[in-house]
């Protein structure tokens, strides 16, 4: 691919319930070794999990910033209960670091102060992006299910307004959120009585069809794709279409190596085909998919046209 050294690589927030220890180790390695420019932190999926790792946030932020990374705090995708409203308000009140808003409650609390628009905000089109920019948005992460022509049109509009534009290029796609906890349900419990059973599945709980085909992953109230999204072969076109930031979602694989593969490909050090083969190896048993981008079923993997 053409050399794209200006394109920023970002690391999305951890979707799963990783232990405080696992998170500390993870971000220490990211700070020291991963060639990502920006890191999103914070609990986006389940407000019950936040107390387990909140106390570590200031140290993690400092560690990442010392390593030259930009840190952004992401707000909850679902805001209903008092503690969720409070958590959203508290984040929205902060001056630094930057915040990424994932629920309209966060937009309300943030007012016109600068903020980023998260992937749960449904910024599907130019009209919505223009509205959001007028309300103080500086950056927008597009929904994972958007196809290439819509990404290009949205990116063009966002860039014209001076916004950064981000697309998820690696990791499971978020397919749904719910008020009900499906991890708790699988274990015969309710959300209030979940005993944090989701911690047992650091890469999500696999669901298989009754004829034994992998289909979805459960992460508490969230449902994710079974396959990892992989848009590495499409990165050159994303960038040509105006996308400025490429998002890697943390999975239980070697994310430092994943980031390195993307950076090497973007910088032109490793040919796209070779980089993509490395990504497949790093992803282990997870299938790779790019169907959403190509306007077909999300789980599908469409062979790229000849790499640029």
């Amino acid at each position: 691919m053409a050399v794209n050294t200006m394109t920023k690589l970002t690391l999305g927030p951890i979707a799963y319930h990783w232990s405080a220890d696992a998170r500390r180790d993870f971000y220490a390695r990211i700070a020291d070794e991963a060639p990502v420019d920006e890191v999103y932190l914070g609990e986006v999926i389940c407000s019950k999990r936040a107390p387990f790792h909140e106390a570590d946030l200031p140290a993690t932020i400092e560690r990442l910033e010392r390593a030259g990374k930009t840190v952004i705090l992401s707000t909850l995708a679902e805001v209903m209960l008092k503690r969720e409203r409070k958590a959203t308000e508290d984040l929205a009140a902060m001056d630094t670091p930057e915040i990424e808003v994932n629920n309209a409650a966060g937009l309300y609390a943030r007012g016109k102060r600068p903020h980023r628009i998260g992937p749960f905000m449904n910024a599907y089109n130019d009209a919505t992006i223009a509205w959001m920019a007028g309300q103080g948005a500086t950056h927008v992460c597009l929904p994972a299910e958007m196809p290439a022509p819509a990404i290009a049109a949205a990116a063009q509009a966002a860039v014209a307004l001076g916004l950064g534009v981000e697309v998820q290029v690696f990791g499971r796609a978020s397919l749904a959120v719910s008020a009900r906890c499906y991890h708790a349900r699988a274990h015969g419990r309710t959300k209030d009585n979940c005993q944090f059973v989701c911690e047992e599945d650091p890469d999500g709980m696999p669901l298989r069809t009754r004829d034994d085909r992998p289909i979805l992953r459960v992460n508490g109230i969230q449902t994710l794709s079974e396959s990892y999204v992989d848009l590495l072969p499409e990165a050159a076109r994303l960038i040509a279409d105006g996308v400025t930031h490429l998002r890697l979602m943390p999975q239980a694989v070697d994310m430092v190596a994943v980031a390195q593969v993307f950076r090497d490909a973007l910088d032109g050090r490793v040919p796209t085909g070779e980089a993509d083969a490395r990504l497949a190896t790093l992803s282990g048993h997870a299938g790779l998919s790019n169907g959403f981008y190509h306007g077909t079923a999300g789980y599908r993997r469409i062979s790229a046209a000849a790499p640029a």
């Binding site: 679902e78 805001v79 209903m80 969720e84 409203r85 308000e89 629920n103 309209a104 409650a105 937009l107 309300y108 449904n122 599907y124 089109n125 130019d126 009209a127 919505t128 992006i129 223009a130 509205w131 959001m132 309300q135 929904p143 299910e145 958007m146 022509p149 819509a150 990404i151 049109a153 949205a154 796609a173 397919l175 749904a176 959120v177 719910s178 008020a179 009900r180 499906y182 699988a186 274990h187 309710t190 959300k191 209030d192 709980m205 696999p206 669901l207 298989r208 069809t209 009754r210 004829d211 085909r213 979805l216 459960v218 449902t223 959403f292 306007g295 077909t296 079923a297 999300g298 789980y299």
Partner: protein, 332 residues
Amino acid sequence: MSLAELICPAGTPAALRTAVDAGADAVYCGFQDATNARNFPGLNFTPDELAEAVTYAHARGTKVLLALNTYPPAGKVDLWRHAADTGARLGVDAFIVADMGVADYIARTYPGIRLHLSVQAAASSPEAIRYYCENFGVKRVVLPRILTIPEIRQLRREIPCEIETFIFGNHGLMVEGRCSLTNYLTGQSTNMDGVCSPASDVEYVRDADGSMSSQLAGFTIDRFGVDEKAGYPTICKGRYAAPHRPEGYYAFEEPISLNLSRLLPELIEAGVHAFKIEGRQRSKSYVRGVVRAFRAAVDDIKAGREANIADLIALTEGQKQTQGAFETKKWR
């Protein structure tokens, strides 16, 4: 006491007339394209049909609400703008919207027409609802089916607009407007195309042992024994196997209908302004039966009488029903 308006589904012109005649205070409908969340073959209205429908409904004192409640992908926003223009020209009483760009367009272009916030916007907190009220002048919010009655009562005190709740019909499990399950398996998007587990991708396959697999786009969503009735393969109502549930189980929810008829008095007391009946995809006779029964129930309650709703149970999907989140937090 609130008005307790009855908001009824109109998937076709015939269903609309049926709902109006059966006592709907308002009907909701959409055009035959991606601008609404029930973009199913054979459903919905041409502009000419909507014009006739508005005349028919208004002559009988019934309001017409136009659903423009999907999310336009960039490059296609004009389809939604034109739909709003057409609706305004035909005199609809309100638009039901989810996308901020669409809401902004209507608020600026047609400030005299009411905006209702669709359940597809997933506004479930006072702050989120106030965001839409203050920025777009939203007059009513359709609440996600995830709140208990005490939570609705509390919410009512904290927002400046009316509340509409679903009381009957399909029981959606995922946060509406945030679900891409259908797109993941079929390539058609609920948010962008208005499609959910589409019939065109459904197949029922008889297995060698006599059991029946109901499939969506080649994925087995559920499998039924010889004596079981095979259900429609809606992804979030399927049975799957998990490591702790190797036998297969309803990972999200079983096929079940929402029926809040017993809770109507409490919902009215909690300050709910309007009751929504789901089912634009359902038959005319279904619409007639449900609307008539709820009309009688609401009128009974308003008159201080005991409501009789036994007939509604026969109409529910799979004969099973739930009060969902409205009754207890344990649902979560």
